[in-house]
Point group: C2
Chain length 320, copies 2
């Protein structure tokens, strides 16, 4: 029986609104006396009633193409009744780490051998929902060996990432092997510090990202180039991730290359801007400071001095 004027009925959170009712009042706001109730103020009609379609009208776009399905995107899909959605296939990534001086962390080392940082670091970075790591290999230390190895990786991956082996030394076989494979080098060498040798191109059906062998250089160039390449290849819509921060100390440096220096957010200045600290210099082989850092500050190529309190661009590290 529908409610009539001045009549009320009790319902519970989430229940259907009784026919005839034009407002729902929270139980906490209701005073009950026997078979009658009273409320302190006259409620606005429609209050606490949710009408079908009030969140999303039929035909609206719930999620733009290219949006990563994080919890917020999943929530929007669920609210629209989308119990399953069509997604792109994952990006197949192959990793090839070169350098015959490297040994697995903790293994026995001969003189002048060093631990392999790039393999665990990059597999950690690449462990993301949109990526399938299809191969992780140690590079064979000859031009012919690398030829066969890279040919096979390129045949099974969308993106081949190499570390090291891209300098001009005669033992740096990556680029000669690429040339033997008929690969194209789109760029090789960028005026940044660290990471100058970073290279990019194409090997048969796959893209190629050549990261430097020094772990910090590999990490920094991954943040700068790798993240952007993955976004592009997966079709994800890019979001601005850089912001501005204030230097917590003066910087004196040799100009010439744009520098990306790991920095840590430590507080705020009087304008509410984040203040960052950083090492006085960074070493392309040293990763010890990375866990404490939050992102990279950009020091422009021609800058030889920045006072404390200078505004600089800042790119937070990607989530992994």
């Amino acid at each position: 029986m529908p409610l009539v004027d001045l009549q009320a009925a009790q319902i519970f959170t989430g229940a259907k609104v009784p026919e005839g009712a034009d407002v729902v009042v929270m139980q906490e706001e209701v005073k009950r006396m026997g078979k009658t109730i009273s409320v302190a103020t006259r409620p606005t009609p429609g209050l606490n009633i949710r009408r079908a379609g009030s969140e999303m009208a039929a035909g609206v776009t719930v999620l733009e193409k290219g949006r990563r399905l994080d919890a917020r995107a999943i929530a929007a899909c669920a609210a629209a009744g989308a119990g399953s959605v069509t997604v792109r296939r994952r990006l197949r990534v192959a990793l090839l780490v070169t350098g015959n001086e490297i040994r697995t962390a903790g293994a026995l080392r001969a003189e002048a051998q060093i631990w392999d940082v790039n393999t665990p670091m990059l597999t950690g970075i690449l462990t993301q929902p949109q990526i399938d790591i299809v191969a992780v290999e140690q590079g064979i230390d000859s031009r012919d060996g690398l030829f066969l190895q890279i040919a096979e990786l390129a045949a099974n991956a969308d993106l081949v990432i190499t570390t090291g082996g891209i300098s001009v030394g005669e033992e740096d076989h990556i680029k000669p092997a690429l040339s033997d494979l008929g690969g194209e080098i789109h760029f090789s060498g960028v005026a940044i510090k660290p990471g100058k040798p970073v290279s990019f191109g194409r090997i048969r059906g796959a893209w190629w990202l050549g990261l430097p062998g020094n772990p910090l250089s590999a990490f920094v160039t991954w943040q700068l180039f790798g993240t952007a390449i993955v976004v592009r290849l997966t079709g994800e819509t890019e979001r601005v991730t850089r912001r501005h921060v204030v230097t917590g100390a003066a910087i004196s440096r040799k100009p010439g290359r744009c520098e990306l220096r790991p920095a840590t957010c430590v507080g705020f200045d009087g304008q509410g801007r984040e203040v960052v600290t950083f090492d006085a210099e960074t070493h392309s082989g040293h990763v010890r400071g990375l866990p404490e850092a939050d992102g990279l500050i950009f020091l422009s190529a021609d800058c030889d001095f920045l006072p404390e309190g200078a505004l600089v661009e800042f790119q937070p590290f990607c989530r992994n």
Copy 2:
């Protein structure tokens, strides 16, 4: 045979420094004429030589206890030769979603039934390396049923998360069931908007986080309370994640509760601070705007007006 004064030998990147050598010069900087070489400037002794222990001396702390093992932490461990590290066990989390009006997204619905947003949204958020989701259940809609269900969840989890059922309605059985279980409620109700009913306590051997049933309220209270609780229970060392942003529009609002409003970073002001935009009002049941937002701005309880350009606190959403 060791090198003698003014003698050089060719080596490749990463190779051992020949005995007697005190500097390594990059091949690009060397001019070769038959059996002699020349360099343009006198190199500083030690240049390009990496001595054992130069990155980390024996006995230094590589990583503080409680640091999450992301790629940067893994890199530091690998550089120290730590091929394996001891980690804490994952936090066991059980999720119980209540409300007999909810149906799985996309399933058939009767009148006045709504899609279940909380289950997919929260399982998405909880899919993190430090968490084991041990159970995801739909709440039984009676006090006795919930008693048995929560007793079993609490016996197998470190943290039981419930959504809904914590208001004062007679069908809100969570708190009565908790009381039957001898649970303790440490707090219930916080003067925030959305998310006022958020509750926290203990059920036998487990912690309990009671999130509101409205999806936006559940999401916001997860960001505020859930993330902090997980950090505490996993022993992770907390990092400051809030910063300050500038409002891109004026805000008029009813004072009384601290408001957490989803906001999107859209650019920068003249001081280099991020400018955010937001909806003029938010609805505790609507999640449609969440995918476009980047975090929450904090509007203090007594604030009834904020001009455009005001500095407000901002908490970026957690990574999932």
